[in-house]
């Protein structure tokens, strides 16, 4: 088997607690499908038949019991539960399932919504025999007004500095602004080998990684790494140019691939340097190809550890980890699936106006003289007469009484909006009741128990 898929669905959604305090992030409805359906659909479309899903017990329960939350995919999903305390990073999770991993892996995060041609990433991984291949995309400026945001937008999050070579495929440098104290320092060894480096900052990491099996073995040895994105990837990128890896000649070119390095633990980095067999070495020597020119080095500068990145410039790629991203994803997600926007079992009366870019979930009841534009109405929701819903997201089981006017808002599951209410750019939490004739603008309305959480 060539690649095993691993879906990381144990994240907490720490940047959108308003939404996730009641519904775990993988189960947030986007376009009336649970968020984790999107990466699973991507994997299924490409041809994966099995996937290992790492998630919390709560999500697993929801997946199996709640029919509207069940992601209906044909793949065989093997669900592995991890404790919920939030201490487990993504790399820790990989270490947890190390026994199940028999070959190279493709790690996907549950909050990735994209239509990338996955073969672009995997081809880099295959063709160059890379240790890491990842996907990045040009960042998208969210223009929609986010409910509950007071004043100007917060300053952009810590930027990532990504350095790629001339071809734009080889990953040379990766650092987060938070880790850089006084400035960006680039090692001379990198500059010597790749004198022309493009440093990009407007990229968002899609959290899709192809990793060699040896990396997983390395993680089991090296327990200090707990996050893939935060620690493992920068470590691998740095190690490409480390002297220890390159100067060590591969001693035994024999074909035993499964032997671990019995040398001292300081050399455990060699575990992740890919050991090319002698025939591959011979083929490389005889081949008249080089990935760079201008110096005396052979292809790849003789380095065995290579990291590649595919940067998407067209197409959808969102990571739904903030409220703004969530709202945007709801707008764009319908493009990703072929189902008709209005579900067949929704009871829509004839005198209502449903815009063509709205999604109506199953078993909804939309009464007369309503107008629904650019919105998403969840499963089993009820919308009574003379309601105007514009640019909003209404989740499952919501009741909106007559005469309401909802604009640019997010209404979470099981909320009840009283009659005649006027909500603009609000976020109504799970199970909340808005009293009739209320007028709220730019507020986050959540229960008192949530307010207690920090």
């Amino acid at each position: 088997m060539e690649l095993q898929a691993v879906l990381m669905a144990a994240g907490g959604g720490s940047r959108m607690t308003d939404l996730t305090y009641s519904t775990p992030k993988p189960m947030l409805p986007v376009g009336n499908k649970p968020l984790m359906w999107y990466p699973l659909n991507l994997l299924e479309r490409v041809g994966f038949e099995e996937v290992i899903v790492i998630t919390t017990k709560e999500v697993q329960k929801m997946m199996s019991t709640d029919p509207k939350m069940k992601p209906d995919v044909k793949m065989k999903m093997e669900v592995v539960c991890v404790p919920e305390d939030g201490d487990m990073g993504t790399a820790d999770a990989l270490r947890h399932i190390q026994q199940k991993i028999k070959t190279d892996i493709l790690v996907v995060s549950c909050d990735l919504i994209t239509d990338v041609a996955l073969h672009e990433v995997v081809d880099l991984f295959r063709a160059h025999n890379a240790t890491l291949a990842m996907l990045m995309s040009k960042a998208y400026e969210f223009t929609e007004t986010v409910p509950g945001q007071k004043g100007k937008k917060r300053t952009a999050e810590q930027r990532d500095f990504v350095g790629v070579d001339q071809s734009g495929k080889r990953l040379l440098f990766m650092a987060n602004e938070a880790d850089l104290e006084d400035g960006l320092s680039v090692r001379k060894s990198i500059i010597r080998k790749h004198p022309r480096m493009h440093i990009k900052t407007g990229l968002v990491d899609a959290h899709l990684y192809c990793l060699k099996k040896a990396v997983v073995d390395f993680l089991t040895e090296n327990k200090s790494i707990s996050s893939i994105r935060g620690e493992l990837v920068p470590y691998l990128v740095r190690k490409q140019f480390s002297n220890a890896v390159n100067s060590q000649k591969v001693k035994d070119d024999s074909e035993d691939q499964t032997q671990k390095n019995n040398e001292s633990s300081t050399n455990h980095e060699l575990l992740i340097s890919s050991r090319d067999e002698s025939l591959l070495q011979l083929a490389q020597e005889r081949s008249c190809w080089n990935d760079h020119r201008g110096d005396m080095c052979e292809a790849y500068h003789g380095g065995k550890l290579r990291c590649y990145v595919h940067i998407m410039d067209q197409g959808l790629c969102y990571r739904v980890n903030t409220l703004a991203a969530y709202i945007e994803a709801n707008r764009q997600a319908p493009k990703l699936f072929d189902e008709p926007p209005v579900h067949s079992s929704a009871a829509i009366s004839e005198r209502c106006q449903v815009g063509s870019d709205s999604i109506i979930g199953a078993q909804c009841q939309i009464a007369d003289k309503t107008s629904i534009k650019r919105s998403t109405i969840g499963v089993s929701s009820t919308v009574k007469e003379r309601v105007k819903v514009t640019n909003s997201i209404v989740m499952h089981g919501v009741t909106i009484e007559e005469g309401c006017n909802i604009q640019g808002s997010v209404i979470c599951s099981n909320a009840i909006i009283g009659r005649g209410a006027d909500l603009k750019y609000c976020l109504v939490g799970n199970g909340q009741r808005i009293e009739p004739e209320a007028e709220r603008t730019n507020e986050v309305i959540v229960g008192t128990d949530q307010l207690m959480e920090i």
Binding site: M1, E2, L3, Q4, A5, V46, G47, F48, E49, L106, A117, L118, H119, V122, D123, R126, A127, H128, N129, E277, L279, L280, L282, A283, Q284, E285, R286, S287, C288, W289, N290, R293, M296
Partner: protein
Amino acid sequence: MCNSCAFYHFAAVFVSFNHLLHGFEKTGGIERAKSEGKELTKEEKQRLRKEKKQQKKNKEKKDDRASQESGREKQGVSSAASAPQPSAQSAAQKAPSAVPAPVPVPASEAPAPAPAPADKPAKSKAELKAERRARQEAERASKQGKKGDPGQPGAAGKPKAPASELQPVVKRLPEHIQVDNPDVLKKLAKKLERQQTPGQNSAKKIPLRLDYGYKVSLFSHLHQYSRKAPLTQQLSIPSTVIHPAIVRLGLQYSQGIVAGSNARSVALLHAFRQVIRDYTTPPNEELSRDLVNRLKPYISFLNQCRPLSASMGNAIKYIKKEISNIPSQCKEEEAKSKLLHCIEWYIKEKIILAAKAIAESSIEKISDGDVILIYGCSSLVNHILCEAFEKSRKFRVIVVDSRPRLEGREALRRLVQRGISCTYVLISAVSYILPEVSKVFLGAHALLANGYVMSRVGTSQIALVAKAFNVPVLVCCETYKFCERVQTDSFVSNELDDPDDLIVTRKGRTQLENWQQEPSLGLLNLVYDVTPPDFVDLVITELGMIPCTSVPVVLRVKNVDQ
């Protein structure tokens, strides 16, 4: 009575013969025939085929009757029965001999095959001619009939021989040079469908790679693929239909990461090793047959990623032979280890040791103070030069390079890294630099059976110019690259690379960006060309230094060995 039968046969043939002569009269001349000659060859061929069918029918009729008659003879009829036989044969002979007559005359009424004996009130000249001819045939037949039995098969053979000479020989052309024929493409698509790995869901099959861009008309019979549309687009990501090692190899071929005849063969054998290692015999199958079937779709896949080279073809033949030769009672583990060992042996002997032997022979040809010219990046030539340098020969090298591949830079890097002093020129300067050169060393992609050398495009130019300057040209080639194909030009069978490689972006401007929109512009990126043996002075192989024309001898000896 028998004679009357014979006369009946004679008359029947005579009638059809008459008709043919009518056709001759009707066209009114050989000049018109010659002018229409080319266009009518198809019709002529059709006509010939139909005539042959007619003759066959007649012959069968006659044979039946002859056998009936001979049967009657055996019952004790007089030897007069021998008369119908020669005359039957003569009748059979007449029919094909009638064929040579109209052959130089492409009858314009060829499309109307049905003999129209209606034109009896016709030219008496024709009739007289026909009679005379018939008489001549009869005499000839009687002479042959006197010879007896040997005459019969001779007679039987004779009608066949002229008929087959005229019959167009249907040659089987390989698929990869018939790309402009839609039937062939359909056949290829069907073949790929059929070649799915056995036991799999029928939805999974080897995808067909589509051609890209406008092809120059002279080369429209060849495939032309784009590097930006890899075949993996159409495969599932954890590839189950094709072994992952083969998918990786195909990608490396199509992106040019593994390039060069030797490198490709070594990488191919490496991938096959992994395939064999991961292979398990299904329950009711034999390894020797099933493994070969398993390899077929992989080979089609690799062929689509990049057309196979001659060296790869020979390696595949060898592997297939080894697999088929595995005795059926051999256990799987044993068989697999045997195959792995065979692969190792092949690489060791045909590539590594051959390179060593060639280097040793070539070093004798390199003397101190030589100026050696090389073209492109041939792994073997680089090896030879490095070895010669190790053995302290004093020489310098001129590296000639050409666009778009610019492989000479890689050769330059490898030589300079060793310490050899090099000069670098582009191929346009080769006539300028040749007066300094004392020898030319060329690598080969394949050596064809008629002595032609198939190598990177540009090699034949180097050889031509070197010949003009009287500089010896030495080609270095291992014997496993010898190929039984015969080719005299570079058009028939070649490889077209991605035409977008020819586009250059300088200072942010790409002039040829929209070349596809220009109706009269075509980009051609040829990969190989053939050099005639007149330009090559010596071929250095591990079997020794042979002239170019001895390639078929080596091939014959190799076949005998195996």
